[in-house]
Symmetry: C2
Subunit: 414 residues, 2 copies
């Protein structure tokens, strides 16, 4: 059996961690199209050079290295090089470096793949400009209008950010890859959640990316003096929110699955004074499930419950659906391959949804695509203390190698 | 029977409404020691002049007009002339103008009181600097240290505000009135709550000012990605607050009275992002009751419930008691007098607590003091659309006259 080399992986991940590293909080600041992000992309191209791989940066900023024959569809191993502000060293990077290590291991073993391998460091996955630019570009989920209008939270235009690093924004539309160019898409990523770590499980085989809806909700009652208004004469908007929050678990129990999530992440009372009964409360609801019908049922239940609570508390209820992203399902054959290889390696595993978004979600439905996780210690991610044990990185990369070796070999019909 | 004149009252209230009136929102901006506030005080002194009353401004800015003999304890009729920002035209002003009208009516009837009447426009009742300066000064609830250190929410020092209008802050300590100088203290005020208006009742005889405690609370859990953290693996701080809020009515039912209030007026989630499980929630609790033992029981129940919820949700609970003000009880004999006069006038009434603070609370315990309310339409106050029907103003002032006429006359023992 061919073995990947964890020391090379560790060296590469640590090398990439220098790009955008901030001494003060020890976080990575490598936001899409920043100087650090572009330097990391050049670093990756230098590694492709070392391995003698053909490489290029496409119009969306994706860096693509190719190993193997020119005329056949590729096995694409991809994840992102950009980070959130104050991010960790593994998020995205793992999927790129694992791809590099797979090619390295095959080369050293003298294996010539029948199908080419493409290792891709995708661009702007973390949504600085509100999308997943690199993956969207490759799968045809971009429009000129969006490219022209997208801005980050500070008001900086995507097109200006791209022009500043020498990219023509409209060239992103040339990054499109036809489905028949890609035989399979694989992504390995840190879980960014607590499940594998808490359950002492090595591999999470992702069955799909949960769909997600986001609502901005408002309950409107009447602001009153907290001393003069008796409890039973109030129209306390916060108490409406509280009653709804109290029903969340019931809604999931009745309408959802163990993959359902409903979260209130933001609450603001108006006027927000300690001595005033809140006349208005603004809050967000983010709901998720892997099944679009379940998502719909959850959303309908939220609306029904909020409307009933508003009536009971003499409140007005308004909401605006800010987004509704359908679930994406991984390819069953690729999932079976991953599962078979995981069993062969005798790693513990579970089949699970991804509650977070990933590059892979745009490739699901476009081509055969799949993903697997390795554990995040304590579930921490998007923070400087994100961590995954090197032994789990090693196992995940070995699993990737086994899958890729199967995929790059021409099947000889019996 | 002598009758007060509602037309004179309406004229005076409208005249005072010009001081600090803001055309844009039609609110009154007459914060303590502002130019408008001081002009209103001068206006009141001019009215005292018209009635031939002795008058002065004490070291705290209270404007005091006196009618009757010099050598006997007074019947003090007081309320405040300052307003909150964007306040209404009746809050405080009613109690001063009603006192003026009582003196006017007695003068016109040729009644020479056996005991003097003092009509007082108190200073800084609305707490721009965090206290009720005028009433505290007259009743000995001031310290030099507080006078030197108090600041408003914009950081302006009380002492600078007083110096700017020609007052020496330390002179406020000379405003103290010995209890034996005051035979009785009476305040008429708009209710600033919905009870009288909803119950179609004319007079609210105040049995006391509810005590109040204010806590800044914090529940600390763990911020997680709202997609990757399953519901049962979260330490969602907001859900702890929600569980507590859900218990408020039960706590009042079990430990409180119909005069109890518990309010959460402010909530802030950290980080406060829609896609992040709140790792921390800061919120305020304001509790009130008229009985100090009930207040204590409510506070203890809040602490017990929050500690239990914190354990259940794997959260840490912290709180800081920002203030604890004991209830103040009105004088039973004065309450009986008001009740008897209300019955004689055949006005509907109820005996009720005041959930809001008023000048009277510092006179309770210092001397015999009592207060009564007239209805606020819709319970609205501290807002430009604060309103009380003129017919209720008329009845309230007539009631005040009846009470004062009883109090200023020497009782001849049989």
């Amino acid at each position: 059996m061919h073995q990947i080399d964890i020391e090379r992986i560790e060296r590469d991940i640590n090398a990439l961690a220098q790009f955008g590293f901030n001494e003060a909080d020890r976080g990575i600041y490598r936001q899409g199209f920043s100087e650090a992000d572009m330097a990391a992309r050049q670093w990756l191209r230098d590694r492709f050079d070392e391995l003698g791989m053909a490489h290029r940066m496409d119009g969306a900023g994706n860096v693509i290295g190719r190993y193997g024959p020119d005329d056949r569809p590729c096995i694409m191993i991809a994840s992102h090089l950009d980070s959130v502000p104050a991010g960790g060293i593994f998020d995205g990077v793992l999927g790129v470096i694992a791809g590099l290590e797979v090619v390295r291991t095959l080369q050293q073993a003298g294996i010539e793949p029948d199908f080419p391998i493409e290792v891709v460091g995708t661009s702007e996955e973390e949504g600085r400009f509100g999308g997943m630019l690199g993956a969207q570009a490759m799968t045809g989920h971009l429009t000129r209008e969006w490219l022209d209008s997208a801005r980050d939270e500070h008001g900086h235009a995507l097109k200006d950010a791209m022009l500043a690093v020498g990219l023509d924004p409209h060239d992103a539309l040339h990054a499109y890859r036809r489905p028949e160019e890609i035989k399979a898409f694989l992504e390995i990523h840190v879980e960014q959640g607590p499940v594998l770590d808490m359950e002492k499980t090595t591999i999470g085989i992702v069955e799909g990316i949960s769909g997600v809806f986001k609502w901005n909700c408002r309950l409107i009652g009447k602001a009153d003096h907290a001393g003069t208004a008796p409890m039973h004469m109030r129209s306390d908007a916060l108490m409406g929110m509280v009653d709804f929050a109290h029903e969340i678990q019931r809604i999931i129990d009745e309408e959802g699955t163990d993959k359902s999530r409903i979260t209130i992440g933001h609450v603001a009372c108006k006027p927000g004074f300690p001595h005033t009964v809140p006349g208005e409360v603004d809050f967000t609801i983010v709901g998720r499930d892997l099944d679009v019908d379940v998502m719909t049922a959850l959303a309908e239940a939220c609306e029904r419950v909020l409307a009933a609570i508003a009536r009971r508390h003499k409140l007005r209820f308004e909401y605006e659906q800010m987004s509704w992203l359908k679930p994406a399902h991984c390819d069953p054959e690729l999932m079976q391959l991953i599962e078979a290889k995981t069993r062969a390696l005798d790693y513990s595993y579970k089949i699970m949804p991804s509650g977070a978004g990933h590059d892979v979600q745009f490739f699901c439905g476009h081509t055969k695509a799949a993903m697997f996780f390795v554990p995040s210690v304590g579930g921490v991610s998007h923070a400087p203390d994100e961590w995954t044990h090197w032994s789990d990185i090693e196992r995940g990369t070995q699993l990737l190698l086994e899958c890729v070796m199967e995929l790059v070999c021409e099947k000889v019909e019996a």
